[in-house]
C-alpha cells in the first residue's frame, strides 16, 4: 500500500493509471452495448460523428464507438492472455535456469537467446498463416505468449542468479527450508515487482503484434479488435474517402493505451531501481 502511495507521487504513474482505468471502463461498457459487434447494417452506413453516433458509423453499418468498446476489450484480452501465459513460462524458465545453473541454465538460455536473435516476427507470421482460420482471440493470445517469454526469462534469471549468491540464501537453507520454500519465501518477494513490470511491457508488445497480424489478415477479421478495426479502415481506403473517424478511432485508442502502459512500466521500473529512487529523492 505504501509502495502504491509512493508511486502515485510520480505524475507518469498517475497519468498512466488514470488513462488505463478510463480505457478499461470503455472496455467494460461493451457489455452494455445496444448492438451486436459482428452483425452488419444495424445503423445507417458511413455517417460522420453526430450526437446519435458520437464516433460515426462505418461501411458495414456499425456504430464506431460501440465497435471500439469491443475492440479494446478484445485487444486487452488477447494481450492479457499473451502476457500472463508468457509470464508463467518466463518465471519457470528464469527460476529454473537461475537456481539450477549448469547444464539446465545453458540449455534454457541457449533457447532463449536463439529466440531473441531470430526475427521472431517472421516465424510468428508463418505460424499464423498456417493457422489462419483458428486465430481466435484465445489462440492469438496463446501464440503471442509462445513467442514472448524469452527476454523476460533472461531478466528473471539474472535476478535469481544474483539472489542465489546472497548470504540469506544460505541462512534459509541452514534454517531447514526445502528448495521449494526457499524459492517461494526468499526469492518470490524480490521478483514480484519485476514480473509485474515485465507484464506491462509484454502486454504493450502483444497489443502491437496483434495489430500487425491483423493488418496482414492473419487473425479472424470479423472479431473487432484494435488491429482488425485498423485493418478494415485501411483496406477500405478510409483516408482517400475522407472518412477519418474510421481510422482515427483505433489509432487514437491504441496510442493512448500504449502510452499509458509505457508510463506505468517506466514509473514502476524506476521505482524498483534503488539508484533511481535515490536520485529522485535527492532532486527534490
Amino acid at each position: 500500500m505504501e509502495a502504491l502511495r509512493e508511486l502515485f507521487r510520480d505524475y507518469r504513474f498517475a497519468v498512466g493509471f488514470v488513462f488505463l482505468v478510463l480505457l478499461a471502463a470503455l472496455a467494460f461498457l461493451s457489455f452494455f452495448s445496444p448492438y451486436d459487434p459482428v452483425r452488419w447494417l444495424q445503423v445507417p452506413r458511413d455517417e460522420p460523428p453526430s450526437w446519435k453516433h458520437i464516433l460515426g458509423t462505418n461501411a458495414k453499418g456499425q456504430d464506431v464507438f460501440w465497435e471500439a468498446t469491443f475492440a479494446i476489450r478484445n485487444s486487452l484480452v488477447v494481450a492479457l492472455i499473451a502476457g500472463l501465459v508468457s509470464r508463467v513460462v518466463a518465471v519457470l524458465v528464469g527460476f529454473l535456469a537461475g537456481y539450477k545453473g549448469g547444464v539446465v541454465d545453458r540449455v534454457l538460455m541457449g533457447v532463449a537467446d536463439g529466440l531473441l536473435v531470430i526475427p521472431l516476427f517472421l516465424i510468428l507470421v508463418l505460424v499464423a498463416m498456417l493457422l489462419r482460420e483458428a486465430m481466435t482471440i484465445v489462440n492469438t493470445g496463446l501464440l503471442l505468449a509462445f513467442f514472448g517469454w524469452a527476454w523476460d526469462a533472461r531478466t528473471i534469471r539474472a535476478q535469481i542468479l544474483s539472489l542465489r549468491e546472497r548470504e540469506f540464501t544460505q541462512t534459509s537453507l541452514l534454517s531447514g527450508n526445502s528448495t521449494l520454500s526457499l524459492v517461494s519465501k526468499e526469492y518470490v518477494p524480490f521478483t514480484i515487482p519485476l514480473i509485474f513490470s515485465t507484464l506491462i511491457s509484454n502486454i504493450a508488445w502483444a497489443i502491437g503484434m496483434e495489430i500487425v497480424l491483423a493488418i496482414l489478415g492473419l487473425v479472424r477479421l470479423e472479431i473487432p479488435t484494435l488491429g482488425t478495426m485498423l485493418q478494415w479502415a485501411i483496406t477500405r481506403q478510409a483516408m482517400l474517402l475522407g472518412h477519418w473517424w474510421w481510422i482515427a478511432t483505433p489509432l487514437a485508442l491504441t496510442v493512448i493505451l500504449l502510452v499509458a502502459l509505457y508510463w506505468l512500466s517506466v514509473s514502476v521500473s524506476e521505482y524498483l531501481d534503488p539508484r533511481m529512487r535515490i536520485q529522485r529523492i535527492g532532486a527534490r
Partner: protein, 317 residues
C-alpha cells in the same frame, strides 16, 4: 579429546572460462584437518587463500573435487539429507545485513528453524526456546519480534544470527569473517560470544579470519593457509608465538599493531595472486626471504616439528 570433524585430503578445483576452454585453478589443495570437541579452530590467511572455500565444503554448500569429510566418523554425504546435516553444523556469515532477507522479518528465520527441525510443537514453546537462545547472546525476544533487518544495528544482527544458529544445538559452528563488518567498538563482544559458546555449551567453532590478533585472542588451534595449502597448523600459542613457516612470520609482521611506539619499518616484496597460484614448487617461494634452490623446483612435504604441522623445505630436513 574427541575429534568431531575431520577432512582427509580435501581439494577443490574450479574450472574457469567457458565450456570450450577450461582453466583449472586448485583453490584448495589436499587439506587435512581435525576439529575437536569444544575448541575454537581458526583458519587464517590472505584473501584468496582458499579458507572460505574450505568452510563451504565443510558446510556442504560445495562438494570437494577429491577427498572426504567425516563428522564423528561418518562421511557427511552419507547424511540422510541436508536438514539432518544442518542439525549438527550451523554457520554465521560475514555481513550481518545480508544474513537475513531484507524483505522478511528476522523472527521468521527463528520460527522456521524451530519448526523445520521439529524442535518444538507449538508457537508458545517455540518462543520460549527462541528466548532462551537470544538470552544466551545478550538479546531478548522483545528486541527481535516483528522487526526487519534494516531496523537493527550490525552488532545486534550478528548476535541474532548466532542465536538462530544455536537453535538446533549444533556441535559445530562455522563463522566466516564474523566481525570484519561489525563496528570496531562492538567487535570484542561478538568474539567473546564464541568463547562463551565453547566454555558453556561445548560448541566447537571454526573461525575464519585474516586478523591474527583476534585469532590469537579467541582460538585454541590455528591453521595458516596460503594459496590453497595449509602451511602451518597447531596450537595457537605455538604457531603464533614461535612461527616456523616464513609465511606465518610475514603475516605476523604485517599486523598493524595498535602501538605507536612499534611501527613496521621493514620493506618487503609483493607478488600478484594469479602468479602464485600457478607456481611450481613452493607457492610462497616468490617472496620468501628464506628461499633456497629446492623451493622453486619441488613442492614441500608436510612435517611435524614439535607438535606443529609445517609445510616448508627448511623444516623437512
Amino acid at each position: 579429546m574427541t575429534v568431531i570433524l575431520e577432512t582427509k585430503g580435501v581439494s577443490k578445483v574450479f574450472s574457469l572460462g567457458s565450456w570450450l576452454s577450461r582453466v583449472h585453478l586448485v583453490a584448495v589443495d589436499r587439506v587435512s584437518l581435525q576439529i575437536r570437541q569444544a575448541e575454537i579452530f581458526t583458519l587464517a590467511g590472505e584473501s584468496g587463500c582458499g579458507k572460505t572455500t574450505t568452510a563451504r565444503m565443510i558446510l556442504g554448500f560445495e562438494l570437494p573435487t577429491t577427498g572426504e569429510i567425516f563428522y564423528r566418523g561418518k562421511r557427511i554425504d552419507e547424511f540422510r539429507d541436508r536438514k539432518a546435516w544442518f542439525q549438527e553444523v550451523q554457520a554465521v556469515f560475514q555481513n550481518p545485513f545480508e544474513t537475513f532477507n531484507p524483505l522478511r522479518k528476522v523472527e521468521s528465520y527463528f520460527f522456521e528453524t524451530v519448526f523445520n527441525y521439529h524442535l518444538r510443537k507449538d508457537v508458545k514453546a517455540a518462543q520460549a526456546l527462541i528466548e532462551e537462545k537470544l538470552q544466551a547472546v545478550g538479546l531478548s525476544f522483545q528486541d527481535v519480534a516483528g522487526k526487519y533487518p534494516a531496523e537493527f544495528s550490525g552488532g545486534q544482527l550478528q548476535r541474532a544470527s548466532i542465536a538462530r544458529a544455536l537453535l538446533t544445538n549444533p556441535s559445530l559452528l562455522v563463522a566466516d569473517e564474523p566481525v570484519s563488518m561489525v563496528d570496531a567498538s562492538l567487535r570484542m563482544s561478538i568474539v567473546n560470544l564464541f568463547r562463551t559458546l565453547r566454555d558453556s555449551f561445548g560448541v566447537s567453532v571454526v573461525y575464519i579470519t585474516h586478523d591474527l590478533a583476534t585469532a590469537y585472542y579467541v582460538s585454541d588451534r590455528i591453521a595458516i593457509m596460503f594459496r590453497g595449502n595449509i602451511v602451518e597448523m597447531g596450537g595457537v600459542e605455538e604457531v603464533l608465538g614461535a612461527p616456523k613457516h616464513p609465511y606465518t612470520k610475514l603475516l605476523l609482521e604485517s599486523i598493524p599493531e595498535p602501538d605507536p611506539e612499534r611501527r613496521q619499518e621493514k620493506a618487503m616484496v609483493f607478488l600478484e595472486e594469479r602468479e602464485e597460484y600457478l607456481r611450481r614448487g613452493c607457492k610462497f617461494a616468490g617472496r620468501c626471504p628464506e628461499k633456497e634452490e629446492i623451493c622453486s623446483r619441488e613442492a614441500p612435504q608436510e612435517v611435524m616439528v614439535g607438535g606443529v604441522f609445517v609445510r616448508c623445505h627448511k623444516h623437512a630436513r
